[in-house]
Symmetry: C2
Subunit: 354 residues, 2 copies
């Protein structure tokens, strides 16, 4: 039977978790949902489903050392380095080419390093069912998240009726992918029951995705072939346009199917998301990163700091309070997105703080 491989995409470099996340240490390396980093939890989530020698991690060359430190089990030859980020299209094509050389007759699950998904068992069951479906049908499979609110920050998948069941889980044909919708449309999507959030998690047969890369991203395919013949990946990569796999391949491929995640999933997009993915105390405060919180008459706050750090709050409500790398950030939870305003200022005035 075809072997199951996993690709963990760990190339993100966001600053939405500044000052804890830095250019040199993005979100997936932070312990913002539990005691271990998000990437270490993603790795452990595969235990019992994909053996470590078949797990690949794709990351930026600059983050190789961080990945090795967080994932000591990762075999050296399974660390795939991108010279620079070109979005998920080239990233997935690069990983797939590596797998195709080793096991052309395999199935891949492609995961983001920085999502919270619980419980692990439920997710493994979904991946196993999706792998079975991919193997049997040859479809490109996206995992869809049953929406819990009319989010405008995610793309949506419109799902047709059930076409199969795998290990008891319904498989639906994908009608279409929709980019991040305006609020009113998102509300219609959620009300319809036919729409799911696009998680960016995929399952497919190696031969199928390889064929799709050749067909829909011929420039990427050509670059990877030249790299395989010895040309430096750096220059080849630089010449590629950044493109998401969704846009390049999934929106155009003929046979797309979806399995649903209807348990906890969170892409932990900003500081305020930490309230949802950590157990709050009796005053609805959440302390992450190992820091100790001492709160007096303070409620609904999210704090983050390294182990050994203390955060003391008195008489405040619904604040985010972070100390990391010599910087302290304080802002209301409902303005967590505005970290980017600070980051933009720092880019102009103090790039060394990013």
């Amino acid at each position: 039977m075809s072997e199951l491989f996993a690709v963990i995409m760990a190339g993100g470099s966001g600053t939405r978790f500044w000052p804890a996340s830095r250019r040199a240490k993005p979100k997936q390396f932070l312990a913002i949902a539990g005691e271990r980093s998000l990437i270490a939890q993603t790795w452990a989530r595969l235990d019992g489903l994909v053996p470590v020698e078949r797990r690949l991690v794709v990351t930026a060359a600059s983050q190789a050392e961080l990945v090795r430190r967080e994932l000591p089990e990762l075999p050296a030859q399974n660390l795939v380095l991108e010279p620079l980020g070109r979005n998920t299209g080239p990233c997935i094509a690069l990983a797939s080419a590596t797998i195709a050389r080793r096991a052309p007759d395999s199935v891949q699950v492609v995961l983001a390093a920085d999502h919270v998904i619980r419980p692990d068992e439920a997710f493994r069951a979904t991946l196993a069912a999706a792998a079975e479906e991919a193997r049997a049908s040859g479809a490109l499979i996206t995992l869809g998240i049953r929406p819990t609110f009319p989010a405008t920050g995610f793309g949506y998948i419109e799902a047709d009726e059930e076409v199969a069941r795998r290990a008891g889980q319904p498989v639906r044909r994908v009608a279409r992918f929709v980019e991040k919708p305006p609020r009113a449309q998102a509300e219609q999507f959620v009300a319809s029951g036919r729409f799911f959030w696009n998680s960016g998690l995929f399952v497919w047969r190696t031969d199928v995705i390889e064929r799709a890369v050749g067909e829909f991203m011929p420039d990427v395919r050509a670059a990877l072939e030249r790299a395989a013949r010895g040309e430096a990946l750096d220059g080849l990569y630089r010449a590629l346009r950044p493109v998401a796999i969704d846009v390049a391949v999934l929106e155009r491929a003929p046979e797309r199917r979806m399995l649903a995640i209807d348990y906890e999933w969170n892409d932990v997009g900003s500081w305020d998301a930490l309230a949802a993915v950590n157990a709050p105390d009796a005053a609805r405060n959440v302390a992450t990163g190992g820091a100790t919180l001492v709160a007096e008459d303070a409620t609904g706050c999210i704090v983050h700091g390294a182990a050994g750090e203390l955060v003391a709050l008195v008489g405040v409500k619904d604040l985010v309070v972070v100390h990391a790398h010599g910087a302290t950030l304080v802002l209301p939870k409902d303005r967590a997105q505005d970290v980017k305003k600070i980051v933009e200022r720092l880019e102009r005035e103090r790039p060394e703080c990013l």
Copy 2:
């Protein structure tokens, strides 16, 4: 003419500026009003009035090293060490005994190390006038602060009419000292125009205060005499009751006079006081301790952190935000007093953080 000496009392060990102030580094050593520590500013305030060889600093033995570091000009023999704190009565008696041995025919100005007083020239003029009055009249002189609001956190001096002028400054006889009053009484005091805050700053002749110590603090006098004969100060000090000089001596002495400080004076009692003693930016934010503030839509905040530290605020108002020694504190300015609630919790739960 009798020489002028200065005594700087630097024994405070408060925690009202936690986490910047710690048991081992109290407020007088912090740069919370300008770029230099309060004690270094107090020292410099005497320039041109009292030569360095006649400036004494009384501090706890545990803080000797900090004092030496902040005041490199301080002659070694002018650092007077208390084995432990016993309030201002024994502290002043100890310093005065040291001066009496060196210059019995002198005048002393007794200052707190942790007050903000501006401008320096005005304060020197007041001290010079008070010294002249002390020299001529033999009165014990307290400096009174013209009240700017009905404070309930200070003791008050009720002043009789002017009895003299020294260097153009009115000298009043003290009618009585009043302990911290309730609000309604404080309002009457301020309205009357006859009441001043008790600054805890004193000027007197060495022979006069020596006689007063003998009369009103005979146990302290006896302890200091035994110490002078070679007994260990530690045990003697431990046996003393803590007592304020105001209560022990000034409330009971026959001839007490007052000169007024009617320029800037602030005893910087808590974090919110930093707004008054530092220049605010256009959004009324104040950054102290050397930290850099990056504020977006944040107003009226007080931040404190070491040089090199960054504090970023978004969308918050009238907060105190401090990072120091591995701890972060956030609380509203109008609850600055409640730092003590945190300190009390830490005393029970994490004394190592104090």
